[in-house]
Structure formats: C-alpha cells, structure tokens
Amino acid sequence: MAILSTPRSAVQLASKGRPLKEHLFRVALMASLAIALLFLAMLLVYVVEEGWPRLDSMLWENQPSIRRPETSGVRSGIFGTLWIIGLTALMALPTGILAAIYLEEYADRTKWYNKLIELNISNLAAVPSIVYGILGLGIIARWMQFGFTVMTGAVTISLLVLPIVIISAREAIRAVPPSIREGSLALGATQWQTIYRQVLPASIPGIATGSILALSRAIGEAAPFLMLGAATLVRFNPEGVWSSFTVLPLQIYSFISRPQEEFAVLAAAAIVILLAILLLMNSVAIWLRNRYQKRW
C-alpha cells in the first residue's frame, strides 16, 4: 500500500504500522476465495473435457441403454425433469407466494400459531433432502397410494422447495416500503386490493428471482427420487402425471454407478446438459434481479 499517497480514509492511516502482516492477511483472504472459485472452475473444465466425446444429438434423441453406452441417451431423464419442474412450479410457487403474503401482510407475530409456522419453515429449510424422500415414500407413494409416479415426485419436490420459495418471496415482499401500502390504504383501497395492486407488482421481480433459484434447486435434486423408485432404468418419456419416470440427476447417478469407462463419459455429457439448464436459469434470475430490482 502506498504510504505517501494522501490518506483518503482511516483505513489507510491505520495500516501504516504493520504493513507486512496486514498484507499477508489480505492475500490469505483473497487466496481462500480463489481456492473456492478454483474448485468451481476445475469442476466445469473437467466435466466438459470428460463429456466432450459424447456431447452429440444422440444424447437427447436416444433413450438410455445399459448395453450400448456409446449410443445411449438421456431423453427420458430430460423429459422426466421437465415434467417434475413444470408440476413443481404449478404447485410450489402459488402455495409459497400465498404463504409469504400471509406471513408478511396478515400474520400477527405474537399469536402462537404464527410463531409455529415461522419456526416450521426455518426448520424445514434445513431438513436433509433424503428425509423428504422418506416422506414421499411413506406418505405420498404408499399411504396416499400415489405410487411411484411423476405426481409423487412432483409433490415431494414441491414440499422440499416450498420453504425456499416462502423465504425468498417474504424477503421480496418485505422490501416494499410501508409508505406504498399506507398510501394505497389512505386512498380507500382494502387490504387485499393494496396487496394485489401495489405490493405484489412491486415485489414480482424479487419473487421471480427467488422462485427460479428454488426451481433450479429442484432440478439438481436426486436424493429424494432414489426413494421414489425413479432409479430403475426408464426407457420411455412420461405419458402423464400417473406415469413412472426418471430424472436427469438420477440417470447420471445410475451411469456413475456402472464400472465401464463409457458410462463415466456418458455421465459427464449428461452433467453438461444439466449444468447448461441450471446456468441458463441462474442467468435469467440474475438478469431479472439486475434489470427490475427497484431501490426505494
């Protein structure tokens, strides 16, 4: 750090005394961040390099095959994932956003049942995903007799991402300043009119960003599906919500579990597809946030 330059802040004044130690500390901090990012970079490079020979159209045109890894595709997994995500969006997003509106706009925080809901949501957000798999297996697949179907998978994943949707939607709603609500109420709008016409439009970008991130979590999830019988080889696309299915991450898992080298290449190629979908969704989320985020 240049000592002779005009000190602009207290920071530079302070660091005069022990420059070397200060400098080393700063370098150590930067190195830590760099190591974390290096892992990400290595992972991406490795997966693309490993999967490169199989990144062809057979990957999304062909169904998976145990016997011919060199021409096997992941079509049923791609379609299964799309079905699950579509249904999850239909179920988890409305429920989560409505719950968030309740908690932010209506709930009286001193009431015991509202405290219970709050506690519940923060706890559920940290329950391991494999435990949601047990919920899906024990309650949804067996007790409700939904079986090992697309519907069971979608309901299970909806419950898994619900806390994430609620938490992010609440943050977006909370960011709308109270003066907007007060202005609307003062003009004679009812509470619901205020929420529907003022609060929600103002918080939609934040809600959309959080929802996309929650859905991208759902796309990458594999553990719950292991419990829901989606691990077996499925060679057809789902025909409806009561059809059996598999998802892309689980197909990748079953490829990894096989000893032949061709399956490792196939797994890497499928991972590239999975990461491409996720990267696209994340970019949209970040773009939404930067484009529409309002500062009050």
């Binding site: 961040l33 919920l135 553990a223």
Partner: protein, 313 residues
C-alpha cells in the same frame, strides 16, 4: 391493519367506521393462512412417516443393540443393527467438510465484506451462488472420477480406497463453502460502520478491526451459518453415496470406504429392501436419527442467534 375494529377516537366522525363486513377479504385471509399451514402439515407428515415404522423397528430390535453395537448389516444374513459405523462415518465426513469449509468460507466472507470493493463484491457473490447451485451428483462424480484418482497419484502412502471418506468429505466441504460464506457475509455486512470507525479511531489496523471487532460483533450470525452448514453436510446424500461408498465396517481411517446414515438410506431405499421387512424399517429408524440430529442442530442454531445476537440500531 388487521380486520379487527379500531378503537374509536373521541370526536372522530362516525362515517369513517366500516359500514358492512367484507367477506371477500376474510375469505382471502383464510386461503392465505391455509397456504402457510402446508408447511406445518409437511412437518407432521415427516414425523408420521418416520415414527410408525421406527416404533415397529424398535419392537424387534432393542435400543441396546441399535446404540450399543458396532456391527452394522441390516441387509446381511444374519442381520446386525449396531448403528455406530454409520454415525462415525457421518461425523467423520462432516468433520472433514467443516475443516475445509469454515476457514475458506469465513475468510471469503471477511474478504467480501471488509476488503472487496463494491464492484468486486457484486461479481463474486453471484459466482459463489452458482457454486451453491451445482447439483450434488456433480460434486460426487468429480470426487469419484477426478479427486480420488488425483489424490491416489499424489499421496500413494494414504492407501485410499476407490471410494473413500476423504474425497467425499472434501467435496461436501466445497459444497457448503457458499453457505458459510454467504450467511457470514450477511452477518458481517449488518455490523454498523460506527464500530469499525471507532476501532480505526483507536489506532487499530484493518486486520485487527476485522478479526477483533467485526467478527465478534457478527459472531451469532457466523455460528448460525456454520451450524446450518454442518447440518447440511450431515444430511448430504449423493456425494457420499457416490464417492464415499456403502461399506458399513466400523473404521476410523478416512482413506477407507464407509457409509453414512444418508448413504445407507439411499442404498436401502433404492430397492435393496422389500417392503415391510425389518431391513425396510431400518431405513426409517436411521431416517429418524438423522432427522432428530439435524432438527437439534437447527434449534441450536436458532437459539445461538437469539442468545448472542448483538442488536444495533
């Protein structure tokens, strides 16, 4: 703003009072409350799904055998139900993950919060979020096919198994770095500038201010972040199932293949046990144990925040 009637202010014109009840508004509130109750129903569902088979399990296997033995093999003949190998493997992999994630995550958080310029922070925080969004099967694949062979080449004296706790723990650690970094950074960003300025005014350097003022002030948030990361690591399934393996032999050496609680659930749940059998019920018993452990850690995390939170205005 709730639907309760307001106390009338003396002298206020009566015409301001509501003329008729608004049923639509009340119906909407009920619908919203119902949506919020789904989360409560989920918890009840999880508890029911776990409890019944777990009680049946302990009807045929004694508590003493489950918690008092180190022989595990519910899928073997004759079966053995001593859960310690799973617990040891879970603790060991979690410990490796924490040793990786806490220093790296905390240092990244201090850098982003205290040292980085606004622009740098704006670039690197989303990148860390991308790291958080990488599916765990991908980490597992990377651990199994890249990290393990690499470590075998570099450190042959470790005598690593093809699947081992070390590589799995390492990648679980990488997976939880964003949780530690992001939540700790939030906690540090919430420390008011007055504290930093006070510290500088007393002659402290930037490093001293970060380590002795900002980190202690944000301590409750940092601890909560670490506990949350630990519970995520303990429940992580795909990385350990792929790179850690399923062998449930009682071992402490991290170079060995070992099965965590979550990995066992994944293995037995994906079709190795027939419904209603004792092996099938074991899934739920182990699931209950995992649920109780993560639940206790979340509770601890919430309490830490409540108890040690420094409130600044």
């Amino acid at each position: 703003m709730s639907a309760q009637p307001r106390t009338t202010v003396p002298g206020a014109p009566a015409s301001l009072a509501r003329s008729r009840p608004r049923y639509g508004e009340s119906i909407i509130k009920v619908i919203l409350l119902a949506a919020a109750m789904v989360s409560v129903a989920t918890t009840i569902g999880i508890v029911i799904a776990l409890l019944e088979p777990t009680i049946e399990f302990f009807g045929s296997v004694s508590f003493g055998e489950f918690f008092g033995s180190t022989d595990w093999g519910p899928l073997f003949n004759p079966p053995a139900f001593g859960v310690w190998p799973l617990i040891v493997a879970t603790v060991e992999i979690t410990l490796i993950a924490v040793l990786v994630a806490v220093p790296l995550g905390l240092a990244s958080a201090i850098y982003l919060s205290e040292y980085a310029s606004h622009r740098t922070r704006k670039i690197f925080k989303p990148v860390l979020e991308v790291l958080a969004g990488v599916p765990t099967v991908v980490f597992g694949f990377f651990a199994l096919t890249f990290v393990t062979p690499l470590m075998k080449d570099l450190f042959p004296f470790l005598e690593l198994d093809g699947k081992n706790a070390l590589a799995a723990g390492l990648l679980v650690g990488v997976m939880i770095i964003p949780i530690v970094a992001s939540l700790s950074e939030d906690a540090m960003a919430a420390v008011p500038n007055g504290l930093r300025e006070g510290s500088y005014a007393l002659g402290a350097s930037k490093m001293l201010t970060s380590v002795r003022v900002v980190v202690p002030a944000a301590f409750s948030g940092i601890v909560a972040a670490v506990i949350l990361a630990i519970s995520r690591a303990a429940g992580e399934t795909m990385i350990v199932a792929i790179a850690g393996g399923f062998k449930s032999v009682f071992t402490l050496y991290p170079g060995d293949e070992m099965s965590t609680m979550a990995a066992f659930i994944a293995q037995a749940g994906s079709g190795d046990a027939s419904v209603g059998s004792i092996a099938y019920k074991t899934i739920f018993a182990v699931g209950s144990l995992l649920f109780v452990i993560t639940f206790a850690m979340n509770y601890l995390s919430a309490r830490m925040v409540q108890k040690y939170r420094e409130v600044y205005d």
